[in-house]
Amino acid sequence: MERTRKKGQLLSRMATNDRHGENSPYFDGWKAYDENPFHPSQNPDGVIQMGLAENQLCFDLIKKWILENPDASICTAEGVDKLKNIAIYQDYHGLKEFREAVAKFMERVGGNRVTFDPNRIVMGGGATGANETVMFCLADPGDAFLVPAPYYPAFARDLRWRTGLEIVPVDCKSSNNFRITRAALEEAYEKAQSSNINVKGVILANPSNPLGTVLDRETMRSLVSFVNEKGIHLVCDEIYAATVFSSPRFISIAEIIQDMDCNRDLIHIVYSLSKDMGFPGFRVGIVYSFNDVVVNCARKMSSFGLVSSQTQYLLASMLSDEEFVGNFLRESSKRLARRHSVFTKGLEQVGISCLKSNAGLFFWMNMRPLLKEQTAQGELELWRAIISEVKLNVSPGSSFQCSEPGWFRVCFANMDDETVEVALERIRAFVLQGKEEDAPDQKSQRWHKKSLRLSFSSSRLYDESPMSPRMLSPHSPLVRART
């Protein structure tokens, strides 16, 4: 009887479904980059990576600190006497100094208007692991979370894959700058309820990925009263909190609930150092909950994704250096502001507008005027043209579940100044060329007419073969924990 079991059943449903999210057309752009990566001198015609939300602007400051503080590493002559104690430390509470340093850092990033209790700081395997852990704590398989759209693509994997949860998008529109309205929340909630979907909470990123905006106080208060009324949870992923580079300032949900009558057991924060500090490789995810049971449960679950004690030790030292942190945060904001300005002003000059934003490592570009048709298909066509002709990997709005076609997320903090210039020039040239529609020049309609099929040798498809990891760029979301 056993022999007749089909081969496909040898793995779990989870292992064979698509919820890892890697089979979406979104990844075509990455392949284009992987095959032909831009380099200012070696490959000036290559594809520029603008789909990668990384913060690479302040490594000089960090490098300097590392060199000046060799004892922060337990693996140098100066620090090796701490090796044993740190190397055997696997307590899922996390090093006290680490938790205290992270709490203080979060306070600073929150404008020093809130206090964070180090005993509520719980580790996760990056924000990827932290978000998943929170879901495991709050909801059962089949339950759902409301997520304002457009949202970070990997939420589909992080919130749903192993947890068995569902996402119900909350539609936000450009007509009011994608604000999250009470009406939209109610509508999404009702729709779910009427389909017998049990909504357990709302999860969102603030500042927003991909919008690059911060939530205003009114919207935040509205969210808090919404979840209180419904008796559901509110999870705020504040991973981009320190990437705010101009006003209005970032307001943590922790600050909002200080002056509101609300059930704090419903409020949870996810944080990480991957964006603010630019340390995605160090896998520092944080769960901060105001609910004691969740803190305890998440802490136990953190056994599945603890931060390396070596890394905890280094960061405890770095983040408790108040002078360094202050200087870093100031410089980082300045440099992000400058980058953002260079791009948005440059694009304005050719008539391309972006959503007004003041945070994040990207801007939300409005390419609707260039769409042949205002549909998802139209957006994909434009996107493929941008990849193959302009040779920029930008992220189409549809991959963020944006209901309005024509928006693109463009990352700007993961490249040097030289590349910025090239990227800007390419976009401007493309846009201007597209505007010469009146000219009988065939070339101007070129991108509409050209075959839009991107051809790649099939052996380069998604990493189905375990034997070919090197073919993929280490920055491709096919291989990264977070995009």
């Binding site: 490594f59 060199l67 430390y89 495991f136 630019g278 049971v293 280490p474």
Partner: protein
């Protein structure tokens, strides 16, 4: 439907409110006693000695020496040129140099008797994550994995908690030194079937925790034959493979597969970690090595939830690719563990206590059944409480490892200095003397 704010606790998930995390077992109660009154050689000589912690602290001097002599390993080179790239590296394939170093290390541990392909190595934050991840991939909620008893208490959480998968025990007893038999395998399988549970695989720990002994070749062959016949998976957690007392007694499932020309190997998966062999549990270094391409691909994707810090990968890539260092480490570590083992066995024997013959691990499997008031789980727990509160030693009762025979205890010996071990042995000796004099 709006819910009033006066409701009691707001709803959490079933997983959150379950007790499958396992922390309410006596296994962990002993820890509390230790935490409240920890032994210290100088400042608290009457405190509780921690013998419930399977940690390897006997070889830190080797690690320290390496780092003092190779400090660029972690400081990203002079002038920290590699820092940026390292801090940005979150590729779930893991650093190639690190995977290569791990593959080499695993080969060295097995005396070159098995080969490992670095591209089949998937990295996770500890074996804890590796075991859970594999379970998510190999079984659906409600399915079962068969695990020989006694087993590492943490498996109850790692295999079952968030996955919803069940463990059905393969009962082993002292009549044949707790080895797995074909009859026991069949019995476990039938037991699962009678509960309407679909069995997806067998998970073994080799060398065994808590037995402290390697699994014999013939038994490995039998287990492999069983899983092949049932068309299910085999997970071999070889976390203690570098902690054997001699270089020749450990046989990895990889060697068995090699001998069979890798026929039917796509059902076999190995879990490894540096927490025990290298004594680096804090660094969270776990791996899954699978002979199944789909499992490798899927595990790699899932590892996004539990990647190893790139800082740590970088450090260990340097350290483990230093062949001189690793060869010396493996050899010296084995020697040191063997000496410790002999010391504790001798001390226990002098006190009139027998242990299962062991040849690996950081602990020994001690037989205190003659001391039980009654040969039951309660009797064992009563004795355990006495040892904890009066003798002030935290050891692990066999029942927390799901041992079907009461009276066995796991006693760790590698997580303390030799002096502390002497003190522990003295206390045990005294306990036995007291018991003897009570009888007469």
């Amino acid at each position: 439907m709006a819910i009033e704010n006066e409701q009691p606790a707001v709803g959490l998930s079933k997983v959150a409110v379950s007790e499958t995390h396992g922390e309410d077992s006596p296994y962990f109660a002993g820890w509390k006693a230790y935490d409240e009154n920890p032994y210290d050689e100088s400042s608290n000589q009457s405190g509780v000695i921690q013998m419930g912690l399977a940690e390897n602290q006997v070889s830190f001097d080797l690690l320290e020496k390496y780092l003092e002599e190779h400090s660029e390993a972690s400081s990203w080179g002079i002038g920290a040129p590699g820092f940026r790239e390292n801090a940005l590296f979150q590729d779930y394939h893991g650093l190639k140099s690190f995977r290569q170093a791990m593959a080499n290390f695993m080969e060295q541990i097995r005396g070159g008797r098995a080969k490992f392909d670095p591209d089949r190595i998937v990295l996770t934050a500890g074996a804890t994550a590796a075991n859970e991840l594999l379970t998510f991939i190999l079984a659906d909620p409600g399915d079962a994995l068969l695990v020989p008893t006694p087993y590492y208490p943490g498996l109850d959480r790692d295999l079952r908690w968030r996955t919803g998968v069940k463990i059905v025990p393969i009962h082993c007893d002292s009549s044949n030194n707790f080895q797995v038999t074909p009859e026991a395998l069949e019995a476990a399988y039938e037991c699962a079937e009678s509960m309407n549970l679909k069995v997806r695989g067998v998970l073994i720990t080799n060398p065994s925790n808590p037995l402290g002994a390697t699994i014999q070749r013939s038994v490995l062959e039998e287990i492999l034959e069983f899983v092949t016949r049932k068309n299910i998976h085999l997970v071999s957690d070889e976390i203690y493979s570098g902690s054997t007392f001699s270089s020749s007694e450990f046989i990895s499932i990889a060697e068995i597969l090699e001998a069979h020309d890798y026929k039917n190997s796509e059902r076999v998966h190995i879990v490894y970690s540096l927490s025990k062999d290298l004594g680096l549990p804090g660094f969270r270094v776990g791996t899954i090595y699978s002979y199944n391409d789909k499992v490798v691909t899927t595990a790699r994707r899932m590892s996004s939830f539990t990647l190893i810090s790139s800082q740590t990968q970088h450090l260990l890539a340097c350290m483990l690719s230093n062949k001189e260092f690793t060869e010396n480490y493996i050899k010296t570590n084995r020697e040191s563990l063997r000496k410790r083992y002999e010391m504790i066995i001798k001390g226990l024997k002098n006190a009139g206590i027998e242990c299962l013959k062991g040849n690996a691990g950081l602990f020994c499997w001690m037989n205190l059944s003659p001391l039980l008031e009654e040969s039951t789980r309660e009797g064992e727990l009563a004795l355990w409480k006495v040892i904890l509160n009066e003798v002030r030693l935290n050891i692990s009762p066999g029942s927390s490892c799901h041992c079907s025979e009461p009276g066995w205890f796991r006693v760790c010996f590698a997580n303390m200095s030799e002096q502390t071990l002497e003190v522990a042995l003295e206390r045990i000796h005294k306990l036995m003397e007291q018991r003897k004099s009570k009888e007469t």
